[in-house]
Amino acid sequence: MTAPTEARRVVFHVDLDAFFVAVERVLDPSLHGKPVVVGGSPDGRGVVAAASYEARAFGVRSAMPMARAVRLCPQLVRVRGSRDAYRRASRAVFGLLRELTPRLQKVSIDEAYLDLSGQPLVAGRAFDTALRLQQQVRERFRLDLSVGVASNRLVAKVASGASKPVGVLEVLPGQEQRFLAPLPIRKLPGIGPATAERLHGLRIQTLGALVDADPRRLEAHLGRDVEGLQMRARGIDTSPVRPAQPDALPKSISHETTFPVDRSKLSYLEKRLAELLHATASRLREREAVARTVSIKLRLTDFTTLTRDRTLPHPGREDADFLPTARQLLEDLLDGRTPIRLLGVKLAGIERGAWQPALFEEAKPARTSD
């Protein structure tokens, strides 16, 4: 007998629960049941990279300064974290997910979309398939995941968030708009703090209210694609699940560092900038790629974040191709007094190979030493 086929579009959003902490608990089972965080030292400028549900119960959250996290939860257990272990665990789990479908789009180390449309699902039901997947990941890797099941990526993503921890939440076909309607506007992917603030200014608190709002009024206040926004608030999303090409290049490569104490001296910051740029450009060169855009990120003592970017006339690959622009961007952002907490560099506009020095440089006559 042939397994039944799901005729409708079926998308899973799979999200590993408290992933970094979960991997740490596999490595050290004594961490089970304790409030655990992964992150930097509270004595320095460490921040929380991930928090267990036990820690979250105390109000500890990701990106919170570690010192504050320890104040909120004095019995907090802190582990430094092992990126290599997280990468290995992620690869193993996503390998299992790919056995279900090759149409998998990994969006981060612990998150992916799967398109199961038209798949001969084992029991004919997406919900059961998601439950089995959840069980298999637990049995094989001792990791837990949550799954949102829906007719598109957008609703599946919101559903997985609502299903946590260790849940499978299926939004029934045709019920997408009703599912989203009572949720706060910030639950919709793509609505950030600035848009949310403007919508709150219009007394729009929920996605249902956003759907009902007059598009002209919205356009006057938001100045963006209101039709698209309202479609998404209705739960309509036709964006495809895009499996990564085996040799796909990243959109950007970045490195950043948080200083042990705030810094304002240009010479110090320029030195760190050169180091960060070297690390970033090295990864670019490893991929035999070139980049066209340089970005600088600064975080001030009060956590204000400033970014500046500039696109080069020619794509570059060597440190020296980017450093003068990066230095200029840094100088533009600095006033020489404001202490800086974090410095970051990003290279974007990444393309395959094709690097060549600027033509005018090739034409330069060789210097002589006379």
């Binding site: 919900f127 837990d144 499978v168 939440l169 029934l172």
Partner: protein, 136 residues
């Protein structure tokens, strides 16, 4: 006074306080979460796969369409039951729930209140038990 559904013979639905991620909060009349109880394995609905402990997210008072899974009642929250809207807007019981007694049927003719749709099931949630660290 409508008779409550006999729990010994039927599965039943427990009203949950809240399910924040799904927009269900205590006191919100527009949305409720209901946990399914008393579903024997033999009665697991083959079409919907509903099982013991499943949580149903229900939009209260929403208009039902053919094919929708709905919760129906006779005016009291301890009488909630599940059905599917089939062709001709007939309500068929699912997962072991009885089909409702509708207005115009014999029950209504006997002067009892008829059943009506309480809300439409828009999602369902099942959560694994947190893994026992001793077993890890």
């Amino acid at each position: 006074m409508p008779e409550p559904l006999p729990r010994a013979a039927s599965p039943w639905l427990e009203l949950l306080e809240e399910l924040p991620g799904a927009g269900v909060t205590a006191g919100d009349a527009g949305r409720v979460a209901l946990r399914l109880h008393g579903v024997a394995a033999a009665r697991v609905d083959p079409q919907h796969g509903l099982a013991e402990g499943d949580v149903l997210v229900v939009a209260v008072g929403a208009d039902a369409e053919v094919g929708d899974l709905v919760v129906w009642w006779q005016g009291q929250l301890d009488q909630l039951a599940l059905a599917e809207v089939s062709d001709g807007y007939r309500l068929d019981g699912v997962a072991g729930f009885p089909a409702p007694i509708l207005m115009g049927s014999g029950a209504a003719q006997r002067g009892q209140a008829g059943a009506s749709v309480y809300g439409v099931v828009i999602g369902r949630l099942r959560q694994l038990q947190a893994a026992d660290p001793q077993q890890r």
